[in-house]
Symmetry: C2
DNA sequence: TGACATCCTGAGGACGCCTCAGCTTAAATC
DNA sequence: GATTTAAGCTGAGGCGTCCTCAGGATGTCA
C-alpha cells in the first residue's frame, strides 16, 4: 500500500539503545500477559520512558510486535534447517509443525498478526513470515517427495492448518488445551495411508 | 463469575421495542462491515438513538453480539434436527459442519466470542452455544455409531476443529479462502478408513 | 386525566492512541 | 574543554471510544 514496511533498528546513541531494549523487554512482558493489544502507554511507563520515545523507536504497534517476536521466528527458521538434515522427512516436518504452533501462540493475538503478515507485504513481520514460509515449504516438499505426505497439499494450506491450530491453542484455558489433539487429527488428514 | 449472564429481552413499551430493533439492525450491519469490535457509539447513532439507550438495552457488547447472532445459531440447531432425520449420518454431520463454519464466521471476531462462550457460563451466548454443542454432539454420536467417524473424537475436539476452520475463514481475503480446503483435510483426519 | 414505571438523553470522566513543538544530551570535531 | 549538531526525549493535548448516571420525557394503564 504505502511503500516498504518499517522495521525497527537498534539506534546508534547509547541512551537510545538503552531505551530501545527496555521498551522491548517491557513489551514482551506486556504482550505475554495482556495479549497483542496491550496498552502501549503501559509498556512505555513500565520501560521508564515517555510515550513519545516508544513511538520514536516503534512507530506502529505492528513494528513493536515484529521486534518482540523476531528472535522466535528466526529460531524457527534455523531449526527448520537443522531438521531438514535429519534422516526422516516426515519426522522433521511434524517436529517443526509442533514448534511452529507453539511459537505462533506465544501470546494472544499473535497468530492473527502473523497470518495477516504472511500475505501482506506492507507489514513489518512480512519478511520473517516469508522466510518461515519457505522453511515450512521446504520441509513439506521433502516429506512429499518421500511419499509420506499427500502431494496435493500446498504450503499455503499447511499454514492455514498451523494457524488454525495455533489459534485454538491461543484460546485454550489452563484446563482445556485442544491444540495437541488438533495437530494429531490434522496429521491424520495430511499424511498418506500406509 | 458474577451470576447469570444478561440476555437482552425485547422491552415492553412501544418506543423501547422500536429502538431495540433499530439498534439490533444497526449492530448487524456494523458487525458485518467492521467486525465484532465495531464502535458502539456509531451503532447507536446509526440507529438514531443516544448511546445511553443502547446501553439500556444491551448493557454489554457481548449481550449485543448475542442478540445479533441468536437467530443464526437457532437456525443451526434447528437444521441439525432436520439433518438428523436423514438417511446418512455422515452426510448429515458433514453438511452441518459446513453450515456451522459459515455461521461462526459471519463477521470478524465472532468465532472468538463463541469459543469463549462455549465453556464460560457467565456469558450471554453461553446458552445458545450449549444448545449448539448438543446438536453437534448428537450428529457426531450418530456418525460414530454408524462407524463412519473415529470413535475417539470428542464433541469438544470437533468444536475445536470447527472453530479453527471458522477462524481461518475469518482471516480470508477475497483472493484467498482456505476454509473449504481446511474442512476437507479435517474430514480426512476424522472419518474412518474404508 | 393523572400517576408511574419505563425509557431516553447526552454531558462527562476515564482511558488509549498518536503527534509534535520544544528541550536535552551524546558524541564527533576542533 | 568548548562547540556544534544530529539524535533522542518529553509530555501536553486532540481525538475517539467506553460506560455511567442524574435529570427529563413519555407510553400505558386505570
Amino acid at each position: 500500500m504505502d511503500g516498504k514496511p518499517y522495521i525497527a533498528r537498534r539506534p546508534k546513541r547509547a541512551d537510545g539503545r538503552r531505551n530501545y531494549d527496555a521498551i522491548l523487554a517491557a513489551a514482551r512482558k506486556a504482550f505475554e500477559s495482556a495479549g497483542a493489544d496491550a496498552s502501549l502507554e503501559d509498556i512505555a511507563s513500565q520501560a521508564g520512558v515517555a510515550i513519545g520515545t516508544l513511538y520514536r523507536h516503534f512507530p506502529t504497534r505492528a513494528s513493536l510486535v515484529e521486534a518482540a517476536t523476531r528472535d522466535g521466528l528466526e529460531n524457527l527458521v534455523a531449526h527448520a534447517e537443522r531438521l531438514a538434515a535429519g534422516p526422516d522427512p516426515l519426522d522433521a516436518l511434524v517436529a517443526w509443525m509442533r514448534e511452529a504452533v507453539v511459537h505462533f501462540s506465544t501470546f494472544r493475538g499473535l497468530v492473527g498478526i502473523l497470518a495477516q503478515s504472511m500475505y501482506d507485504e506492507g507489514t513489518p513481520s512480512h519478511t520473517m513470515c516469508s522466510a518461515m514460509h519457505r522453511s515450512g515449504a521446504d520441509l513439506l516438499r521433502a516429506a512429499q517427495a518421500a511419499g509420506r505426505v499427500r502431494h496435493d497439499l500446498t504450503p499455503d494450506e499447511l499454514f492455514d492448518l498451523l494457524s488454525g491450530a495455533a489459534w485454538v491453542r491461543e484460546q485454550a484455558t489452563p484446563d482445556r488445551d485442544g491444540s495437541s489433539r488438533f495437530l494429531e487429527l490434522m496429521l491424520e488428514g495430511i499424511t498418506t495411508r500406509d
